[in-house]
Symmetry: C2
Subunit: 428 residues, 2 copies
């Protein structure tokens, strides 16, 4: 059996998952990769930290150069996360002709092009399946399996924390705050949950997916992001009445050669496959011109699922260990991005108004003038000073909705635009 030496950068959750899988499935992995994989070194911040796994101390180092100066290391596995020093390390490894496997969404989303160019120059492979949606083979799916297709649309639930929170709000009638607390207790949400609940985590992942699916360089700053903190129990309830479920979706669509890129809470038909993706599960829905509708569903995080993707990537490097086999064409086009006011969608509008005759007529008139036509509405019985008017529009441009709302806000009968939630029907 041929031997290969690899090094890990980082020994957090994902690193532990990789260590455990390489040990527990060693024989199967030897058979499938053709190599006996030996972990040569592991870069950690603190050698003496108490760990839940039993790693021989002599493997640990705090000095990255020990790895880069070791010619016998063929693959560097970056599972430390964050941009610096990960970027520096990855580029270093590539320049020393080491293949790289990374789980780092931020790094790939923001510095992917530089890294891939460096890899091409040095004829090494950079694999990053674990950077999006943990164990779900979505990167491989787009890059390898769907190459016959023009991809038209990718719509994903790619943040487990917010999906867990929305599931608890939907199925157990929790408030956002209660559900967040529960998620934190379970370890699904961090003490500072901003990156998850505001949609930033999903933005990085969507940047990677859209770059691959549309072969264009997508800048994270070009992705519109809106979090789930504005979702109230009452919106979920009205959504149900209307046949919708609310999910935080990451969406990219090609519309007349331009890309619509957005992350926001979305109402989905309750019968859509994505609507039934619950708890911390992730799922990605793809529409291709040949394959039609395709969905991949699974664990988007966790040490073992993410480790599964990392180790799969390592095996893939070993199977293709011919020089210059990184054949993926990275000659991306530069597609334009659709501005927010040109997003096309249906909209759910919840407006609190004084219970006076004629108010719905005034609202409807304003919408009509701005070319927003109404699909359905519910007026809710009075509870306090105001009543809610809930309107579902036909598909229209976001700019039209915004112009309407500016004018509706000014009506004296209107108290407040309580919420605006986009609706995706996904032609399902």
């Amino acid at each position: 059996m041929k031997k290969v030496r690899i090094a890990l950068l980082g020994l957090g959750n994902v690193g532990k998952g990789v260590w455990n899988i390489l040990n527990s499935n060693r024989e199967a992995i030897m058979k499938r990769s053709g190599y006996d994989i030996e972990i040569a070194k592991i870069l950690v911040r603190d050698i003496n930290k108490k760990r839940t796994i039993d790693v021989p101390e002599e493997l640990l180092t705090t000095n990255a150069d020990e790895i880069f100066n070791d010619d016998s290391v063929k693959i560097v596995v970056e599972v430390m996360g964050g941009i610096e020093p990960a970027k520096d390390y990855v580029l270093n490894a590539i320049r020393r002709k080491m293949h790289v496997v990374t789980a780092n969404k931020m790094l790939i989303a923001t510095n992917g092009q530089q890294i891939f160019k460096e890899a091409e120059k040095n004829e090494v492979v950079v694999n990053f399946e674990a950077s999006v949606a943990g164990g779900i083979p979505i990167i491989n799916g787009i890059n390898e399996s769907l190459t016959a297709n023009k991809i038209q649309e990718v719509v994903g639930i790619i943040n487990g924390t917010t999906n867990y929170i929305l599931t608890k709000m939907t199925l157990e009638n929790m408030s956002f705050e209660e559900a967040l607390k529960e998620a934190q207790k379970k370890g699904y949400a961090e003490a500072d949950p901003t990156s998850d609940v505001e949609g930033y985590d999903a933005v990085y992942k969507l940047a990677i997916l859209s770059t691959l699916a549309f072969e264009t360089e997508v800048d994270v700053n070009d992705i519109y992001a809106e979090g789930i903190t504005k979702i109230k129990a009452i919106d979920i309830e009205y959504g149900k009445e209307l046949g919708y479920v609310i999910k935080l979706l990451a969406i990219v669509k090609e519309v007349k050669g331009k890309l619509e890129l957005r992350v926001h809470p979305t109402m989905l038909p309750a019968i859509h496959p994505l609507a039934n993706v619950n708890d911390s599960f992730n799922a990605i829905f793809i529409k291709g011109d040949a394959v039609g509708d395709l969905m991949l569903y699974g664990r988007g995080a966790g040490e073992l699922p993410t480790g599964s993707a990392v180790v799969g990537d390592i095996i893939s490097v070993l199977r293709n260990d011919t020089e210059g086999s990184n054949v993926l064409i990275r000659n991306y086009a530069d597609k334009e991005v659709v501005p927010v006011e040109s997003f096309k969608s249906q909209y759910y509008l919840r407006i609190s108004v004084k219970d006076l005759p004629g108010v719905l007529g005034k609202i409807a008139t304003i919408l009509g003038k701005n070319e927003v036509s109404i699909l359905s509405f519910i007026q809710k019985p009075k509870k306090g000073e105001f009543v809610y008017i809930v309107i579902v529009t036909h598909e229209t441009f976001e700019g039209n909705v915004n112009k309407s709302l500016e004018n509706i806000k000014k009506l004296e009968e209107v108290n407040k635009i309580e919420n605006v939630i986009r609706i995706e029907n996904l032609d399902y």
Copy 2:
């Protein structure tokens, strides 16, 4: 741009899909594969047949040797189906050092090992993504993405015809006969639907999936098969009452080193992701020791979805066109197969009995003696001479159920064992 010449064997639905995709997505495919793909020859049965696509007549031939004797052909795409002459052609192509892409489930399920050995010897690639579940990248998923895992279980809805029929029966209360007629009208079912409705089509696909997932040579004859013709509207109705949906599932599980291999109608919890796979869609659920639960969902048939898989396989050959790159280890073990009486499952039993006191007690006693314990039961009000007793058991061995039923049948109060349907909870 490098050029490559390929040949098609067959120009039926899948062949047409391949032709259309190669033409309509030509530029994207060039960019992704690095090759300009030229279709050199297409083997057909009748050159003068009217076709719905516009193929230059000089490409068509009825003589396979014209293809095999053309050294410039690098890839042979077998989309004719059936075992002979497809097998002969595929082996011929391999021996002439042509790579092979095939969509042929029967061929791979029954002669895969011989074909792969011949391919290894001749250092060519044989890709067969399209042979199972059309456009869903399940072969690539198991062979490439999940290599870090010990797969524990694969459960799939891999026959679109029966899924369409069961969906119509479940959501629109059609009878089996009505739903079958509808499926035939839509082109989902053939005039002779036996292979689909009796589960044989799913057996071939399951043989391929289990061979790959468990790295063992699975013989189609070792797979237990039961079709959906025995499913009555009333079973679907009682299933709903109990919280279950009926699907034709193809199941393989490793139980103490042996494989349970079976295709049969199954009751699934209504909230399981597979229970919500409707119409002619397919889906495959995989449990891996690292990745956890994973599901792939999409179009299991149709010219374009299946063509998507075939063309993806062609591109994959072109990207890896280094000699001997067919590194997939095909050194399979030979795992034992669990006999039917040792299947472990929960069971739904529908029994028609005379409405006499004590009959449930007698049935329960027999079940108890055979170590079958009852989870729940419903007794249905009298309609005709008999009443139905519906029993859901705890998990038990199939042998115990069968022994019980033999004795229950003999009770004078019992008219008939109307139906026995396995229930899978899939630990979801």
